[in-house]
Every structure is written in structure tokens, then in C-alpha cells.
């Protein structure tokens, strides 16, 4: 067991943790922040994406002890003000959420993407979210939501009638 301290979404946490446990495990089961999900535990799906010290990482492949002293951002921080972030609002408008299991990781990936490219092109969005599997949406409405959140969506994705 090791005592660690980290900041999550601006709040300081101190915990006595098992050294072999992943940050994902500790976030979800010991701290109770279950917004971040586990889809594979092996760094392939991106469901566990969080931001640690300013960069997005797969929390399933980080030991919690490694996070000692870091600043962590998770989906729970996105609406801490009591309002959805612009990206969350756009996700809502565009049905970019279906089962919602990939959503928290996807949002954190996009948060980082927008820090790197405030107005990402469609290609940059696709490149950016490549590490996050979504089995439900087919990604299109997620891409549109990001374009919309950054003021770049010309035509709304209306359904076409034959």
C-alpha cells in the first residue's frame, strides 16, 4: 500500500492504495468516479481516456501510484459549473450519444483535441478520436457535434426523405 495524492477536477484527493491497481480501477472503485469507463483494460478502446497533467491517456494502463502528484481531469469535471460544456451541448443536439459507454472517454479525447486544434477540420477530428471505439453511433454524429461545437457545421444533419 502506498499513500498518494492527486487532484481530480480541481479537488485534492489523498488515498492509501494498492500498488498494483490501475488508475482506472482506483478512480472508479475507490474514489467512486465511475464516469470513466473500462472497455478492454488493455489500451485498445479508449473508453478509459482521462487527461493527466494536460495530456490524454488510457487510465487502464497507468498505475494509480504513478499518478501521485498529478492533475487529473475526468468527465465529471466537464459540467462542474452546473452547465454542459459546449461540446457536451453539441453532443446532446446531434445524438452523438447512444449507449453512452464510450462517451466519457470520447469527451476527454475531444477536450484535448480542441486544446491542440481549436477549430479542427473533419480530418483532424477523425484522426483525433481514432483511439476511441464507439460501437453504436458510427462516429458521424460525433464528428458533426465537434464541428458544430466549434462553429463549423454548415448544414445540420437533417434526415433526408426520398
Amino acid at each position: 500500500m502506498k499513500r498518494v495524492q492527486f487532484t481530480i477536477n480541481g479537488d485534492l484527493y489523498e488515498r492509501e492504495i494498492h500498488e498494483h491497481r490501475t488508475l482506472l480501477h482506483v478512480l472508479r472503485e475507490e474514489i467512486g468516479l465511475t464516469g470513466t469507463k473500462e472497455g478492454c483494460g488493455a489500451g485498445e478502446c479508449g473508453a478509459c481516456t482521462i487527461i493527466m497533467n494536460g495530456v490524454p491517456i488510457n487510465a487502464c494502463l497507468v498505475l494509480a501510484v504513478e499518478a501521485d502528484g498529478t492533475e487529473i481531469e475526468t468527465v465529471e469535471g466537464e459540467s462542474k459549473s452546473g452547465r454542459l460544456s459546449p461540446v457536451q451541448e453539441a453532443f446532446d443536439r446531434h445524438h452523438a450519444v447512444q449507449c453512452g459507454f464510450c462517451t466519457p472517454g470520447m469527451l476527454m479525447t475531444i477536450k484535448d483535441l480542441l486544446q491542440r486544434y481549436p477549430k479542427p477540420s473533419r480530418e483532424q477530428i477523425i484522426e483525433g478520436i481514432e483511439g476511441n471505439f464507439c460501437r453504436c453511433t458510427g462516429y458521424e454524429q460525433i464528428i458533426e457535434a465537434v464541428l458544430d461545437a466549434t462553429g463549423q457545421l454548415e448544414e445540420k444533419g437533417e434526415i433526408k426523405h426520398a
Binding site: H18, H20, R28, E29, L33, T34, G35, K37, E38, G39, C40, G41, A42, E44, C45, A47, V75, E76, E78, S79, L84, Q88, F91, D92, R93, H94, H95, V97, Q98, C99, G100, F101, C102, T103, P104, L107, I125, I126, E127, I129, E130, G131, N132, F133, C134, R135, C136, T137, G138, Y139, E140, Q141, I142, I143, G157, E158, I159, K160, H161, A162
Partner: protein
Amino acid sequence: MLEQIPAAELRYVGKRTPRIDAKEKLTGQATYVSDMVLSGMLYARVKTSPHARARIVSINTEKARKLPGVRAVVIGEELDYRVGLYVVDKAILARNEVRHYGEAVAAVAADSIEIAQKAVDLIDVEYEVLKPVLHPLDALKDDAPLVHPNLGEYDYMEAAFTPKPGTNIANHTKLRKGDVEKAFEEAEWTIEREYTNPSVQHVPMETHVAIVKWGYDDEVTIWSSAQSPFTLRNLFCTAFRLPHRNVRVIVPHVGGGFGGKAGIGIEPLVAVLSKKAGGAPVKLTATREQEFSLLPCRSQLTYRIKTGVSKDGKILGQKMTMYWDSGAYADYAVNVTRASGYSAGGPYEIPNAQVDAYTIYTNKPFGTAYRGFGHVEFHWGLERHMDLIARAIGMDPLEFRKRNALREGSTSLTGEKIRANTGSILKCLEAAESAVGYGTLTEAEKARQEKTGMKIGKAVVGLHKAPAMPPFTATAVILRMNEDSTVTATLSLTDYGQGTYTSIAQMIAERLGFPIQKVKIAFESDTDHDPYDWQTVASKGLLLSGNAAILAAEDLLKNAYEIAAQALRCQVVDLDHDAEKIFIRHHPESSVTFRQLAIGYCYPNGNSIGGPLIGVGRYIAQGLTHLDKDTGQGLPALDWTYGAHGMIVEVDEHTGEYNVLKVASVFDVGKVINPDAVRGQAIGGMLQGLGTATCEGYIYDQEGHLLNPSFTDNKIPTAKDLPLEVESISVETPQIDGPYGARGVGEHSMIAVAAALGNALQNATGAQITHMPLRFEDVWRAIQRREPVDNWITKSPYGSCRSAPEVQRHQQQEC
């Protein structure tokens, strides 16, 4: 019939409406079973079989039981229960014999996941490895080992299925229409081909997970990431011989299902662990790897089609033989067989038809329901076949489809009359045709070919599917008015991402005339609190539960009007209402608010009438029949949703590499209730279909070991795999008995995508591929006319890797 209102007057139905569950999910606050922790909860792990077929000589659990923190260890021998959806053929843990790689042989519940895993590692199982039967066609041979020697003793649903004891046949579905042999004699051409697809995995992002608490007096509570709370309860009670009242199933948010979470899964295993641990709640979360082999997959299919065609390109007769690889247990595969059997001809008129569809046991992970319920698999063959016929007879493939498309006056394979209001496959085909500019290349496309050196090909395919369900499929919705006149609906159809709840909220708001903000659909399903629904499968939810919701809204209004009439001292016929109140039509100032009526109306002097306002809506499928077991004739279809995909691909003829440039998906949905939800289903399902078309599939070695049970070697599409352009188009031929004219579309988007790809690739290069998936290498081989790869289940007589030992060694060593 239910609520056909001119579009102009609709306020919510057909209008863009955000999902009612989106905010909860976007903030990370939605609770899934995988997020849940109960006090005193134990963690479970499972010991699985490393062999495809083996006799269990002994299991030694002593070391595991002695490990501190271990609260329960179970093995098959001590569990005298059998579970099964249609054929009751599965033990909770393997007894005496393991029948597939990855099958559960023992399980542990402990204080922590670490201890549970350690205990599992300490369990010693001695096996006598037996020769497995892996390919369904091998399993049909006389000398094939029997996967279930006791098949004759199992219970099964007799009205629908026909197992053959003494063989590996779990079911044989037959259909006979007209005289197919005579049709072949009259035909100008007969064309016969075989098409195959491998097993694939659903890959919901949330793996299967359940918490079970087996309480005192056999009161059992199950929290599960499941699609069908009531069917789960029913199967659970049957297996454990418990009264239904004893068992409560709770389903909170579910992280995707796609059919893989229908029926019953790991719950019985978790239940026996809880029971043995003295009633402590036990949680089992499948690992991603277990998702591929402990839990079921989609069946492999070998589909043989022989078609007789007249001189003018009309199908005269068709003989269809399906070999469905059930894997070790029958589960849903028998019903996939049945449902595919009766629609095996696709959206085309086939005057003389013969279908023989077999569900065959093999020693592989078992098959279950998967989005499309067999139709994704057989449309691969069928829609490839349509192209190959057209090419063989020198006709344009789309023209051939149109000529044979079902239309008003046609009869389906089961003898059902197709009517104008059934829907229009022709309109779907035509919309897809124009969306991809079928038959020609635009100037831009020609320029692109010049620039890239790749060849562009196009294809249009058709599809159809009806819900595969019993003729008595039923559901109910209860609508309660809250004190402030908002309403809360409860139902046990689950929304695991499809968005049906939002559509139902729109319909309730529409029918009540309330703003949608006043309508809540309770998300968690609970068999103790919610009314019955059969299952959330088959794309039937919107139609059946939508109708029930409308009926519930009407019932609530009727009850409200009755009390209002007393309060206002008038007749019900003179009443009308708006979002706030019920009033007398000719004296609108004489009114009573819903808020006054919500829990019962109270007169000024305190006398009260009514009571809490509740509306109940019940709906059961109308006019369906069982199918005749010898001829397959009858009425199985609640509704038919027709659809088409148009696809454009570019291919490097030298290497087989290709890019999907565009997919346009068209469905006759009857009526669009929620445009974004339809679009989400259309595109999401299309990409899932494209995944199985391009890269997904189980690969086994000669011993039946699954070689790719993880994301390392079973890829699914990423955002980069989305076609450059995707389009979703809706045709609206109202479904007369559908809510506001709607019919289901959840599964259809995945159907026939693979065939569109295969056909477009052939259109571009001439590559003739009849097996899936279509990896670059497969395309390259087809163009080069080389033998297809032997290491795919679909090609090899043993369903395996030629170089199995090397592969295994390589697998262990490689990243």
C-alpha cells in the same frame, strides 16, 4: 391505425428532439451495472476451458477454497440445473464435458477481484482432451462425434423447433412454396453458389456484467447489463424452479447490446455463487477476452442458393439451404435459423421456393442473437447471389433486383400478401441508386480514378427484415400523472442506446398534447415495478411499445376526462384539453387543471373523487400465426422494413487495397419519429456491418482454439474506418398498425452492407468473392484468382488455420 395524424399538425413526432438520456450520459452520471457496488459485495472470476472438447476428469478446488477471502467456489458437478432459451441444453458450469473453448468450468466469489483471480488460478482441472467437431458440415457426417448425445432428453419449444436426437442437428426449419423442381425445368438459367460468413462478436463497449443477491427464502435480485428483464427472469425461474414472484431483475443503463445481451447469460452462474456465499451480493464482470468465448457470438453460416431464372430475368424458383453453426449450445441460433428461413429469399418475389435451414451443434463458442438476427449473414450470400445471377444472364444487377422486387400483390415465402402499405423496396432501391449515381461515373470520379490509379465500383443492394418473435409478443406501458401534472411512464422495453425511449416520450407528449418536458420515461427497468415486455430485440420495440404508450396516454386522458366531467358537471363528449387543463369546449372558462386532477379531485368542501391518475396501455402483436412445420406457411411478420444500401468503393487492382468512398442507406421506416435517432441507427448499424464486412471474424485452429479473442486481433471500425461520405435517407410508407405509421429500423442498417461491398468490389475489379470478411488480402487473392486463404473458419474443412501450431506460438510471442 394508431394515430395517423397529418404531419402538419404534429408537434413532436418527426421533429428533431434531443435524447432524453443524453445529459445523464454526457456528464458521466448515468449508472451502468459495471459502475455499481453494493455493500458486502463479493467479486467473481471464472475458470474457463482451454479446450474445445474434453472430458473433465477431475477438478480440485481445495487450494482455492482455503485461500483467505474466498467466499464461494462452485463447479458444475454440484449444479443440477439446465438453462436454455428454446432448447434447454446448457449447464451453468460444464459438467463432465466441456463443449467449447472458453466454456466456464468453475467460478469463485471472493472479497476482492485479486483474491478471486488467485483462487481461480489455484483450481486444478484435469481434462481428457477429445477430438472436437468444428465445421457444421463435418458435424452432419454419420461418424461425427455428438456434441449433445442426450439431445433427445432435452426440453424444447415444440411449436417452433425440430431437434433431431442422435445427430448434431438442433433444429431443422422447412419451407415449401410451389414446385421448385418444375421451376428449375422451366428456367432458362439455373445458377447455384455457396456463400459463407464466419462467427463474429457483438462487441458492446460494456462487457456482460451482473450482480446477483440470492437472499433469504430464495428471494433473488439480479442487476444485469441485459436487454430483456422479463425473459431473463422467466428463464432464470425455469432453470432454478422458482416462482416468478421471487425473482426481481433490475436493468439500469446498458452499455450496448446488439442482441448479445438478450436472453440469459452469466446471471445463473453469479446467482449460484451468491447462494453459496450465504446471500452476499456477487458481481461478475466479463473481461473483454471472455466476451469473445465465454459469452456467445454470432453464428457462422454456410448458405447454398440455387436459382432458376426465366428468359426475361424473372426468378422462377429458388432452393435455399442454410447451415447455421450453432456452436456448443442452441441458444438463439435455432430461432435465427427459423427467422432466416422464412425470409431467406430477401425482398424479392419467388413463386416457387424451398428452404431447408439447419442449426448444427459444433464444439465452438455458441451463437446468439445479433443485430439483424441472421439477416446480415444470409443477405451477404443472397445479395451477392443476385449480382452473380445478373452478371451470368447479362442483365444489370439493379435492374434484375427491380424486376424481381416484392410489390403490391406479391406473396412472400410464407404466403403473406404484400400490400401497398407493407412498404416499398422499389423506392428504397431507387433512392440508393440516385444517391450513389449508380451505373455511371461522374466526371469527378473519373478524374479521381486517373489521379489515384484506383478503380471505382458501385453497387446497390436491397434488404428486408421482419421482427423475429412469437405471434403472441406483448408489451405494456404504465403512465402515471405526478402531483404537478407531469407524467412518468414505466415500461420494461429497455433502451440500451437505440433511443426508443426518446421516441416514446415524443409520442406520449404528442398524444397528451403536453410539452415534452412534462414527460419522463423512467430509465431503469425493474420487473417488480414495471409492466411486462417480452424482450428488447427484433426491431419491434418502437411499434409495440409505441402503440402501448399511445394507448396508455389515451387511457390516462380518458380517466382524467371522467373525473373532470364530474368536477365540471358536464358530459365527457363536451370536454377538450390543453397542456394545463381540461375545459368545456363551448365554455372554455369552465375548466379544471390537470394538477387538480392528478391525485384525485377535491371539491371546495373537501369531498374528493378520482384518485391518482394512471393510464395503462397494453399491446400484443396482431394477427400472426405459428408457421406450419412442414411447409413454413403462415404469418410470422409484424411488419416488414425494407431497405437498400448504395455503395461506392475505389480499389487498387494490384494490391486489393480499397477505400469506401460513400454509403447511402435507405429504409422505409413508415414514419420518422425522431430524425436524428433514425440517422444514428442508419449510420451506426451500417458501420457495424462494414466492420464485419472488412475485418471482423473468429479464427480457430485445428483443435478449436479461438486464436483472436481480443482487440489485438479482432479489430472493429474506428472513426478512420468510416466511409468518406455517409448518407441516411428515409422512405415513409406508413405502417397502418404502427404508432404514427412507424415501423422498426434498429437492425436493418447492418444488413446487406457486406454484400454491397462485395458487389462494388466486383463491379470495379471483377473479383468474385463468396466468403467474408473482405480483407485486402482476400480481394487481392480474388483478383489474382488465387485460392482463398485457408486460415478462416469459412474455408477450411476443419475451420481452422493450416499453420495452427506456428500461429499459436507466434500469437504468444508477438505483441
